[in-house]
């Protein structure tokens, strides 16, 4: 059974232009939001008195199963915002709620998995040992851990490297292990802080295709921090454009590119798509890569990239 390349005929017949929305997702009255950031400020005290305003007046709502990217120039606070959601820093003002709970409670209930720009693998553990780490610290039995790690390594295409040491892997492979680790406990929310930042362009595009495929497989809510406009447009349902001094969200852009590999139940047409069959099977890596190439070459894709770029420029960045 081969996977059906989705919506390519719709792509050929005129594309929907990306809409621009400034706040909540289209389904305003839908299910409880996965992540809710309300009126958040974050100020960091600076040594010798004074303070840096990292974020002001952040309002962001992410629906369950949605993929939202945070994009902006350096210093716009996007990593800080991600860490606020992860409860790795606390807001100076405002509230962050994750699946209805305060961020701290969500962290303590392990409602999310996170991957950073550095893979952060423990060098004294094997690749499989690193993937098992969250399971081990949360008391999962050895047999189950091992099974789950094997499953995840297959998912990211590193099944043969389970017994290797991290130092023996390249940067891209280490990042894949980090992502496998973030998925270990099947978290409903995945937070990614520029995980592909240190990779070359080819590896990066390949990893994006894999991430899209994984997301299709697991229907996870994802918040991704990135520098790359094509990456944001390729992967996201919505792109939050941020700008610095002070850090704030200037615009949230709905991405509407037909043919994108999206979560099951969601058509590639975004808010406006009708009568388009959802992708029913998880494509193999080569399929996902192939589809990804198709997606990246569509006019709607370029239009969306342009829209994001213009929003970035308008916001005073890049």
């Amino acid at each position: 059974m081969t996977s059906t390349p989705p919506q390519t005929d719709q792509a050929a017949a005129g594309q929907a232009a990306p809409e621009q929305v400034t706040a909540a997702p289209a389904d305003g009255g839908g299910p409880a939001p996965a992540v809710e950031v309300r009126g958040v400020d974050k100020v960091f005290p600076v040594a010798g008195g004074g303070a840096t305003v990292a974020l002001t007046g952040i309002d962001l709502t992410v629906a369950p199963g949605e993929f939202v990217s945070l994009i902006g120039p350096s210093g716009c606070g996007k990593s800080t915002l991600l860490r606020l959601v992860a409860d790795l820093v606390e807001p100076t003002r405002g509230a962050v709620r994750v699946f209805g709970e305060p961020a701290r409670a969500a962290r303590q209930s392990k409602r999310y998995g996170i991957a950073f720009q550095q893979a952060g693998l423990l060098e004294w553990r094997t690749v499989a040992g690193n993937v098992e780490l969250p399971l081990q610290v949360h008391g999962v039995k050895k047999r189950e851990r091992r099974e789950r790690a094997r499953e995840l390594l297959e998912l990211v295409g590193l099944g043969d490297f389970a017994g290797h040491w991290p130092a023996q892997l390249s940067g891209g492979m280490q990042q894949r292990v980090a992502i496998a680790r973030a998925l270990a406990e099947r978290p409903p929310l995945l937070l990614l802080d520029e995980p592909f930042g240190a990779l070359d362009e080819m590896t990066r595009e390949r990893m994006q295709a894999e991430l899209a495929r994984i997301r299709l497989e697991t229907s996870t809510t994802v918040i991704l921090v990135t520098h790359s406009i094509p990456e944001a447009v390729f992967l996201s349902d919505r792109v939050a454009v941020m700008s610095p001094r002070p850090g704030r969200i200037t615009e949230i852009i709905d991405v509407d590119v037909p043919g994108r590999v999206t979560a099951p139940g969601e058509s590639g047409g975004g808010a406006g798509g009708a009568g388009v069959p959802a992708v029913s099977a998880v494509p193999a890596v080569e399929d996902a890569v192939g589809q990804a190439e198709d997606v990246r070459e569509q006019a709607a894709f370029f239009e969306a990239v342009t829209a994001v770029r213009e929003a970035l420029r308008a916001g005073g960045g890049s």
């Binding site: 962290r107 952060g120 423990l122 990211v156 193999a284």
Partner: protein, 315 residues
């Protein structure tokens, strides 16, 4: 199952690979993922296997041979210099003379090396254990750390020369304790300082990771802090191992039990038997190297992840 071999250089465009089951409903079972076209080639995996054992032997020789050759040439030059200029033994004995004395006194050398060696090892172990324990305590308590830091620095600053005769007078003249105590004190400082540094230097990304997993303090220590400090501990260990032998030898210069190498060096020098004194010095060098290699071996055993093909890329 998966035959996921990285085939470098080849690419697969969007066509399906085989017609077999891409069910997607479970991840286990049929393996839909194949690792193809890995543009990011891992550093050690595609090693220079061609040439096999010879390439590796050559690499090892390239490391071992230069110092060996240098050593032999240096000794030869030494011998030539002494012979040519007829240097007196109290200035600089010839290597040949030293070697003769070494052979003559071999049994004594073995016995005294055993005594000095055991002093060094006992003191080393005591110093390691106390250094490690102190580091663990200091890393977990700022108060203790603040108290210990100046004490440790002071201990390191005191020369052994001052300590040895004091300890000798504290204990009986047939006791080995004073020398072992001196060694332990000398060993303590590098082990303590390096281990504390290792315990403190947990990379930020690992801290954040552990925080995101909501682990408790003890779990954090066990999973990340302690294993991460192992390389640092062994750095201290290696430093301390050389110092231990030196301290064991020198501690004997100031009285106390005289059954080790140090006493033989002093007595030979006092009797103007300089080649013999140098022979014992040579024995002390050999002992020092042996202890250092032992430390290196233990480190090699304890850190299997560092035994790789020299790849140290950590992104």
């Amino acid at each position: 199952m998966t035959a996921g071999v990285a085939v470098a250089g080849s690419t697969v465009t969007g066509s399906t690979v085989t017609g077999d089951a891409v069910t997607g409903s479970t991840v286990t079972g049929a393996a839909p993922v194949r690792e193809v076209a890995a543009p990011d080639v891992p550093p050690g995996a595609v090693a220079a296997r061609g040439g096999g054992g010879w390439a590796r032997t050559r690499a090892r020789l390239a490391v071992v041979l230069p110092p060996l050759v240098f050593g032999v040439v240096a000794v030869a030059l030494w011998e030539a210099y002494v012979q040519a200029y007829d240097i007196k033994p109290y200035l600089l004995p010839a290597p040949s003379e030293i070697w003769t004395q070494f052979r003559h006194s071999f049994r004594v050398i073995v016995d005294t090396s055993k005594a000095t060696g055991s002093n060094a090892l006992v003191g080393l172990v005591v110093g390691l254990v106390t250094g490690l324990v102190a580091a663990l305590v200091a890393a977990s308590s700022k108060v203790v750390d603040g108290l210990l830091a100046p004490v440790a620095a002071a201990m390191n600053a005191i020369p052994i020369i001052a300590l040895a005769p004091l300890f000798n007078s504290m204990f009986s003249t047939t006791s080995s304790v004073p020398r072992r105590l001196v060694v332990a004190i000398v060993v303590f400082f590098p082990v303590y300082v390096n281990t504390v540094r290792g315990l403190r230097q947990v990379p930020e990304v690992q801290r954040e990771l552990m925080r995101s997993l909501a682990v408790g303090r003890w779990r954090f220590a066990r999973t990340v802090q302690l294993p991460g400090a192992i390389p640092y501990f062994f750095t201290g260990f290696r430093l301390a191992s050389s110092l231990a032998v030196i301290a064991a030898v020198v501690a004997e210069y100031f009285g106390g039990r005289q059954n080790g190498l140090g006493s033989r060096i002093t007595s030979a020098a006092a009797n103007t038997a300089y080649p013999r004194a140098w022979a014992f010095v040579l024995a002390a060098c050999v002992l020092g190297i042996a202890v250092y290699l032992l430390a290196g071996l233990l480190e090699w055993l304890a850190t299997p992840w560092r035994r790789g093909s020299g790849s140290t890329s950590s992104t």
